[in-house]
Amino acid sequence: MRKAATAHELPGTGQVQAKAAGMPVAWLELATRLRPYLYLAPAMICFLLFFFYPIGSIIYLSFLDWSLINLEEMEWVGLQNYRDLLADQDFRQVLGNTAVFTVATVGIGLTLSFLLALWLNKKAKVYGIIQATVFSPHIISLVSVSMLWMWLMDPQFGLLNAALEAVGLPGYTWLADPKSSLLSLIIVSIWKGVGYNTLIFIAGLQSIPGDIYEAAALDQSPWWRTLVRITIPMLSPTIFFLLIINTISSFQVFDTIAIMTQGGPINSTNMLVYYIYEQGMDFYNGGLAASASVILLILVGILTALHFLFMSRRVHYR
């Protein structure tokens, strides 16, 4: 009961309750001190079983040779999985694809969202309606978004090519061509995510105190200087948050790949989580899948650490 002994600043009135119930005060005091831990226990046990234990487990599994077909046989192979992984041409391409996808989706997506937020951050009702409209793809299942865009991007009968032909441009093969397949997935991801990012940017813009802008207006500061000197610096916590969140979710991209391309053509749209899924669930190469998971875990871990570091700084300097 070490935890209980060091507890301090307890709320509540153990004595009052003890008197009422006619029980020994010390006993009730102990129960009171244990109470927060009991309240936390169900949630914490869940996190332990389905989050912290699996994190340890994935690291351990990455040093074993194993497969999902026969979980009885696991053999310690040390760093061999990592060597195999780095020697795998496909995996290098997967890392490259993930990097290109992430930089493009986050870079273009956030720029567009920022511009939209500057434009739509107004009181009139229309702007609210447009905000909701731009946001709406965010709550639709990626299954439907993917299938809808497959249809729009269909080379023969799709609407995008029909529109291109209508203005006299040649049609595009979109997903079927390794040159444009990754770009197609980038377009879909930006389309789905731009509304969420815009709303977060708008929330950030609205938290900037209005008197700063009044001062800038008094100084007759031109709009671009106000933007660079006031808006962007004041918005930097929001920008940083969105960079982290969007990068992490770009690393996770899976549904669009599984439905639209299955990583093809010729591996051109294969990315980290899809690679892990294929190796683990289709090719039964558990070791390779686990070591790729650990690499993903490290990447996400670094971003999470940066996020916490930045948040604690912010609190300090306030």
Binding site: K3, L10, G12, T13, V16, Q17, P36, Y37, L38, Y39, L40, P42, A43, M44, F47, L49, F50, P54, I55, S57, I58, L71, L116, W119, V126, Y127, I129, I130, A132, T133, V134, I139, I140, S141, V143, S144, M147, L148, M150, D154, F157, L159, A162, Y196, I200, A203, F241, I245, I248, Q252, A258, I276, Y277, G280, S293, L297, V300, G301, L303, T304
Partner: protein
């Protein structure tokens, strides 16, 4: 002159707004339009904006191409089951974080924030191995229990509970109400808006989820709607875009209806993540 310029600028902005709106709404309208077309009309060039005849039979074909009633029931059971469990685990946890000071509090809360940041895609393999050891893979349990506790839910509710004025709780304590009763009969009703917000977020997330059921299940009896819908495009002999779009309408409509009814709550739920 100046006035004319101002008017045309206003007009240009309206056109711009319309274009932006169409960019996000039109694909869905196109989905709906395709869902009612016949296959010859789907393949026609130039494409027609509205279907010539309204083919309701596409919806019937989509629905009858697999055990869709079962998928729908599974989807509801999973999303509601998760919601109930998350509510039962988040309320006491959030109450403990918001209303008690105890050793290890900030460490434990830090762990909740870590859970919030790291996605399940990173650790699905070991969870699969673990659930498989318990014989739970390919059951509805494998879709529900890994999500029994929500870090986001704890985070949101904790903030709501912290805002309840101390006097309310002190008054209840003087009335000899037990902590357990204070939590469920005073705190929970006062946090109702946040509970609605979180409930919508959780339901939408799990209703839409494709990844987890794909990993954990392989038979129709336990699969959910997104998996069923995604298998629609694997028909032979050319893709039946009309049937496919009809199927997706079935998946989307409940969410769109919820969105129209509770738009403000939903936007809040998703934007809250940034706080």
């Amino acid at each position: 002159m100046k006035r004319v310029g101002a008017i045309s600028l206003k007009t240009a902005e309206w056109i711009g707004l319309l274009v932006v709106a169409l960019l996000f709404v039109f694909p869905f309208l196109w989905m709906a339009s395709t869902a009612f077309k016949t296959m010859p009309e789907v393949r026609q060039f130039p494409p027609s904006l509205l279907p010539e005849s309204w083919e309701w039979s596409n919806f019937v074909r989509a629905w009858e191409s697999g055990p869709f009633l079962m998928y729908t029931v599974n989807s509801i059971v999973v999303a509601v089951g998760i919601l109930v469990l998350q509510f039962l685990t988040a309320v006491p946890a959030a109450y403990a974080f918001a209303r008690y000071r105890f050793p290890g509090r900030s460490l434990l809360f830090g762990l909740v924030l870590v859970v919030l940041m790291i996605p399940g895609q990173v650790i699905f393999l070991p969870i699969y191995v673990q659930l498989s050891g318990w014989g739970l893979v390919n059951t509805l349990w494998s879709l529900i229990i890994p999500y029994a506790a929500s870090a986001f839910g704890i985070f949101l509710l904790r903030q709501a509970f912290m805002q309840v004025p101390d006097e309310v709780i002190e008054a209840a304590r003087l009335d000899n109400a037990s902590e357990w009763r204070i939590m469920w009969t005073i705190m929970v009703p006062m946090a109702k808006p946040v509970l609605v917000t979180f409930g919508l977020f959780s339901f939408i997330y799990h209703w839409n989820d494709y990844f987890w059921p794909l990993i954990m299940t392989n038979s129709d009896e336990v699969r959910t709607l997104p998996i069923g819908i995604s298998s629609l495009h694997m028909s032979d002999g050319g893709t039946l875009w009309n049937v496919m779009m009809a199927g997706n309408m079935i998946l989307i409509l409940p969410i769109l209806v919820i969105f129209f009814v509770a738009q403000r709550h939903i936007i809040k739920a998703f934007v809250y993540q940034s706080k």
